[in-house]
């Protein structure tokens, strides 16, 4: 029974005047501050809104929306990117149906994210100059929205009816999702439906999201290992992990990205020979950036996971020992599941930070969302549109970070067996 719904006594009921008095005009000084605040607000908002509605040349964003979304990715293969998005809709639907069916807020946030993604294909088809018969460009956004919500709903329906055994497949599906996307985006062979698309053609939001995803997936296990190493009883392992974590946390990301770009290739041998096969190992620049971001993020991940590990009561370790579990079993079955569950909100916060940090790959001349923004500004037609372009880029980062943050704040994880 919700007691807060009961009405307050008559004298306490809010009337507009009363609310104003309590929140804006408690005293003379308070009133003065309020007036000052309103003046400040208006002096900021009015010029900005006037500028945005009259002066701003939003044409620069509209005409280059495809660049912002996918960079120079070949139009004939854009459909592969959209297959990734559709797959994501399906998996999200299934996961939602399985884990989060009571949480409307989370669902609404995910839906919003998809609506925004879904608007992109429609927006992509706006420039009339590019009438290439790409599959992704021909479908108007409405059809995409329908397709995605159908797949999401399908996933939800599957999840609701799936037998318990099938439910265990969702985890592996998530794990498989990223490699599948990578194959779809990068391609496999020299030609055909899945022809290779070089990473120099990846760009815009696509590149930003790919670096983020790889960074998260790669730094997570690395971070867990480092956290375990830092708590290890073996002094050598412990010293190594502490050294790594403190070194990385003490230097700016940009130095690590530069190191990945300039020095990482030098660490590779000149030639690798396996019997008859001999080749010159090379890592392309996108992979180098991904490596740099992952190595950087792993150190921060380790500290967050360590926070969780420290909060596991001794009794849990002792109970595991008493049950005769091996050290590996104790960690993977008893300690880590509880520790990780505890730090999920912090980890999501870190993932958001990583997503924002990927913008630094612009400085090592990759064309991520911000990098594309810089190239767009070099177009002679759009000289002097810095504010429009950077505001648009900032808005995209803002929406993604805010939605992720909102989800993590509302997220209620399925309780562990001990708490049910």
């Amino acid at each position: 029974m919700n007691t807060s719904a009961a009405l307050p006594p008559l004298t306490e009921r809010i009337s507009i005047l009363r609310w104003l008095r309590q929140n804006l005009f408690r005293s003379v000084a308070d009133g003065a501050v309020t007036v000052l605040g309103i003046v400040l607000l208006l002096s900021l908002v009015i010029p900005i809104v006037t500028w945005a509605l009259t002066e701003a040349r939003w044409q620069v964003v509209i005409e280059n929306i495809r660049l912002f979304a996918i960079g120079q990715y070949p139009i004939e293969y854009v459909w592969r990117v959209w297959v990734c998005v559709l797959l994501l809709a399906l998996i999200c639907g299934v996961s939602w149906g399985l884990w989060l069916f009571r949480q409307r807020a989370v669902g609404a946030a995910i839906l919003t994210a998809f609506l925004l993604l879904g608007l992109l294909p429609g927006a992509l088809s706006i420039p009339a100059t590019e009438k290439v018969a790409g599959f992704g460009l021909m479908l108007p956004s409405l059809a995409w929205l329908v397709a995605m919500s159908t797949l999401g709903a399908l996933g939800y329906a599957i999840a609701a009816r799936a037998p318990a055994r099938a439910r265990k497949l969702v985890g592996p599906a998530w794990i498989l999702y990223l490699p599948v996307c990578f194959v779809l985006v990068a391609g496999l062979g020299p030609d055909g439906l899945l022809a290779t698309v070089g990473s120099n053609l990846w760009g815009g939001l696509l590149l930003t999201l790919l670096i983020t995803a790889v960074g998260i997936v790669a730094s997570f296990p690395l971070g867990v290992l480092l956290a375990l190493g830092r708590r290890s009883k073996l002094p050598v392992v412990k010293a190594f992990c502490i050294g790594y974590i403190e070194l990385i946390r003490g230097v700016p990301l940009i130095t690590i990205l530069f190191m990945a770009q300039l020095i990482l290739p030098l660490f590779l041998p000149d030639r690798v020979t396996f019997g008859p096969i001999s080749f010159r190992p090379e890592i392309d620049r996108v992979i180098r950036a991904m490596a740099g971001v992952s190595l950087f993020s792993a150190a921060y991940m380790a500290e967050n996971v360590r926070g969780g590990l420290q909060n596991i009561p001794r009794g849990q370790f002792e109970a595991a020992d008493a049950l005769g579990l091996t050290a590996t079993q104790k960690m993977t079955l008893i300690v880590l599941p509880q520790a990780l569950r505890m730090v999920v909100p912090i980890l999501v916060g870190q993932f958001i930070g990583l997503f924002k940090d990927t913008s630094l790959v612009t400085i090592v001349s990759l064309l991520d969302l911000l990098g594309i923004g810089n190239t767009v500004l070099a177009q002679p037609k759009f000289i002097g549109t810095q504010r429009e372009v950077y505001l648009f880029v900032a808005a995209i980062y803002w929406i993604f970070s805010y939605v992720m943050g909102a989800i993590s704040r509302r997220l209620e994880l399925p309780q562990s067996a001990s708490r049910r």
Binding site: Q22, N23, L24, R26, D30, V33, T34, G37, I38, L40, L41, K233, L234, P235, V236, V237, F240, E246, L247, R249, G250, V251, P252, L253, I254, T255, F258, M259, L262, I263, P265, L266, F267, L268, P269, D270, I352, K356, D357, S359, L360, T362, I363, L370, N374, Q386, R387, Y390, L391, V393, A394, Y397, W398, S401, Y402, G405
Partner: protein, 329 residues
């Protein structure tokens, strides 16, 4: 009795033996990997004819630096260029930390007031900043706002401070007297003039970090139970007294650790100065790397400097934290 002494754990069952073995194996793997990687590195450098060492530092740099607090000309050497960058970074970081603390405190307190408008303004400001990458904000701030400030002849005056697209002039102590800046023709006269780049990186970092510091302070004050404040009022403390003597000392304990990491973040983030064309330690180092190809040495030295600064800052903040921490019986 003597029987139990004889039955020793066989070595292949002894956990201690495993521990030693595991560590030896770990060391061997790490050293092997290190030798392999550095061998590759050295041979790659030899192939590219890049020597290793710091012998290039005393050679003539030949590039200009727009902002410098030290004597520097294009005929100075790399070491001097590097020192200029180091001083620039230290100036930006230390002034930035002070200003960000002041504005962060204002933001945090604004977020805590009962005043609806003020607390909402603070909230919106923090929410905007916290969800945008610093680099995006910096380039927007520099190329979108600072570039488009009024011309020097129409410089905005905010109190005694003059703001224009050629820089920002602030009052400054010159030869023992306070000198107020004025516009003379096309230049500022008197006061201290911040170049647009210095102004952009400093104000950009402060605006960005203040939002995070504000959040830290708000969370710290909110962690103090209301009862403490009410008890102070009941004892007859004034509002200011109860904040200064009761709430703040307790809140500081919660605030200091996250505040430290914000200070460290600001210091490390100052390495993005290159994005606004300010010659800090890192951006000068990249110029040196481009000219000499000595990436390994330069990156190592810069990392070493940032690491030292970070460690020193956290040492100081830990000392301060120990001072304010709760002393129990």
């Amino acid at each position: 009795m003597s029987d139990t002494k004889k039955t020793r754990i066989p070595i292949w069952r002894d956990e201690r033996a495993y521990a030693v073995l595991a560590q030896v194996a770990f060391v061997v793997v790490v050293i092997a990997a290190g030798v392999f990687l550095f061998g590759n590195l050295l041979s790659a450098l030899r192939r590219q004819n890049i020597p290793i060492g710091f012998d290039f530092l005393p050679t003539r740099a030949g590039f200009d630096i727009s902002d410098s607090f030290l004597e520097y000309t294009a005929s100075s050497n790399y070491l001097q260029a590097f020192q200029v960058g180091l001083v620039n970074t230290l100036v930006v970081a230390s002034v930035g930390i002070v200003l960000a603390s002041v504005f962060g405190l204002i933001t945090g307190l604004a977020g805590l007031t009962h005043n609806f408008i003020i607390s909402r303004l603070a909230r919106v400001y923090t929410e905007i900043m916290r969800n945008v990458p610093l680099l995006v904000f910096l380039v927007f701030w520099y190329r979108g706002i600072v570039f488009n400030l009024p011309k020097i002849s129409e410089a905005l005056s905010i109190g005694p401070i003059l703001v224009s697209n050629r820089g920002v002039a602030i009052p400054w102590l010159l030869e023992g007297a306070l000198s107020l800046p004025v516009v003379r023709g096309r230049i500022f006269d008197g006061g201290f003039v911040l170049s647009p780049e210095l102004f952009a990186i400093l104000s950009g970092l402060v605006i960005y970090t203040a939002a995070f510091i504000g959040e830290v302070i708000r969370a710290g004050v909110q962690a103090i139970p209301r009862g403490q404040f009410e008890a102070a009022r009941a004892l007859g403390f004034t509002g200011m007294q109860s904040i200064r003597l009761i709430v703040l000392p307790q809140a500081l304990r919660v605030i200091i650790p996250p505040l430290t990491s914000q200070y460290l973040n600001l210091t490390k983030n100052s390495s993005l100065a290159a994005a606004v064309g300010y010659p800090d330690l890192w951006s000068i180092s990249t110029v040196i790397i481009n000219q000499t190809g000595r990436a390994v040495e330069m990156i190592a030295v810069v990392m070493g400097i940032y690491l030292t600064t970070s460690l020193l800052t956290s040492l100081f903040m830990n000392w301060y934290n120990n001072k304010v921490r709760l002393i129990e019986r």
